[in-house]
């Protein structure tokens, strides 16, 4: 657990307000919601995809940004290549993989960026500023903190299972689920119990209004990013309406 806390937070010098990131997520999900494959709207989509990537690079994680860019470019290329040259079942499968990458990787990197650069206390401060009930804020904060932990626990379980000679591809599907999900549940429940004891010891849930020392606030860069994203989203929606796509 100690290790998880240390590796999770990347101390960004950009210091965007958590509310900016939230706005970014919401706008981004509007874009992901509407499917486009070509035209000006597609160009906007690509630009919007690379805003979080750019931010990730700015925060000093150039290798992750680079990896994502490579993956995305490769998927785009492969998709076009497959459409022209490969038909039949193999082509379908390749298209699916590409589609999956292009559809979900942007969301995942945006979510990853928002989670990994936000300290929990900053998040709580932002949540109380926008008057989200404390309970829901706690739940979401715990959840955010838990995604990386789940990944880590899963990796250790996988290693343990490999030592026992249990790996994917061997044995039945149900066994595969059982040998991974059950230990994962065991460890998460223990971590959860520890977490709630620690939190209660520190006075979470006390019947007073919580104070928070983290400094959050909007700066010029927040406005800039939100403005750019907002304009791009409006343009995106405009172009898709023009193109005849139904808006949800």
């Amino acid at each position: 657990m100690e290790k998880a806390v240390k590796t999770k937070e990347i101390t960004g010098w950009l210091h965007l307000d958590p509310r900016t990131k939230l706005a970014m997520l919401v706008l981004f999900s509007v874009v992901v919601m509407i499917d486009v494959v070509d035209g000006p709207a597609y160009a906007i989509r690509v630009v919007m995809t690379f805003i979080p990537v750019f931010l990730v690079c700015l925060e000093g994680r150039v290798h992750i940004g680079a990896r994502f860019t490579l993956l995305y470019v490769f998927a785009t290329w492969l998709m076009q290549f497959t459409q022209k040259n490969i038909h039949g079942v193999a082509g379908m499968l390749l298209l699916f993989v590409c589609y999956m990458i292009m559809q979900f990787a942007p969301t995942i990197i945006t979510v990853w960026y928002c989670i990994s650069t936000t300290k929990i206390s900053e998040f709580m401060a932002a949540m109380s500023r926008i008057r989200v009930p404390q309970g829901i804020a706690i739940s979401i904060a715990v959840m955010m903190r838990f995604f990386p932990t789940l990944g880590e626990e899963y990796r250790s379980i996988r290693d343990a299972m490999r030592m026992r000679g249990i790996s994917f591809g061997r044995g039945k599907v149900t066994k595969m689920v059982e040998y991974r999900l059950i230990p994962l549940l065991f460890s998460t429940i223990n971590i959860g119990d520890e977490l709630s004891q620690a939190a209660v010891t520190r006075g979470l849930g006390a019947p007073v209004e919580r104070t928070n020392i983290s400094e959050i606030g909007f700066h010029a860069r927040d406005f800039l990013i939100v403005l750019v994203m907002l304009i791009l989203t409006i343009l995106y929606v405009y172009f898709t309406v023009e193109g005849g796509n139904v808006i949800l």
Partner: protein
């Protein structure tokens, strides 16, 4: 436990189990991009597999509101992951009703828990809703993206406004099955370890 208000501990439990629920369903969703049958199979796979963590979750619920909050967070996550807001009312309503059913059994009754989980699983059908409502434009965009006509046809014969009630029913039935699976797994693994 006569206090009915949710405490910090409960909120932490909510966060943890929502995270597990989301990650498990995300894994299944990624598998789903391989075939239209798996996309349609969400209604079967997700309720059954998430039955295991959810039954464990049910064992820790003592107060009203926890399932509702889980459903609200799931609705938010569905929105962030591009499923739109159309499914959100279904999702939240499913959580609320599941909560009410479980509450009527005082969160202890076995039958009520199983039915309640079945109702909760209706949130899975929420993720199909955009597919059903925007069927034509969605199909068009799939075709433009280079998908095989055969694939899209299969997908849209399985998931249509006509079969939508069937999907909802399927979610519920598989939810009940999932609850039984979860109970069995809990008996095999967790009760012995003293976690429940």
């Amino acid at each position: 436990m006569d206090k009915k208000k949710l405490e910090a501990k409960d909120f932490i439990t909510i966060g943890i189990f929502t995270a597990i629920l989301w990650v498990v369903q995300l894994v299944i969703m990624y598998l789903g991009y391989l075939s239209p049958f798996v996309v349609a199979g969400y209604a079967v796979l997700i309720p059954i597999v998430t039955g295991i963590p959810m039954i464990l979750y049910y064992a820790r619920i003592e107060k009203f509101g926890m399932l509702t909050i889980t459903a609200v967070i799931v609705a938010v996550l569905l929105f962030i992951f591009g499923m739109g807001l159309t499914g959100a009312p279904i999702c939240i309503a499913a959580g609320l009703f599941a909560d009410l059913i479980a509450k009527s059994g005082n969160y202890k009754s076995k039958t009520k828990t199983i039915i309640s989980y079945g109702v909760f699983c209706l949130w899975v059908s929420a993720s199909y809703l955009p597919l059903v409502i925007t069927a034509d434009s969605y199909k068009q965009s799939l075709l433009e993206a280079g998908y095989d006509a055969a694939f899209t046809d299969t997908l849209f014969t399985i998931v249509t406004p006509k079969t939508y009630p069937l999907i909802i029913l399927c979610c519920f039935v598989c939810g009940v099955i999932g609850a039984f699976v979860g109970k069995a797994v809990a008996r095999k693994n967790f009760e012995k370890a003293g976690i429940i």
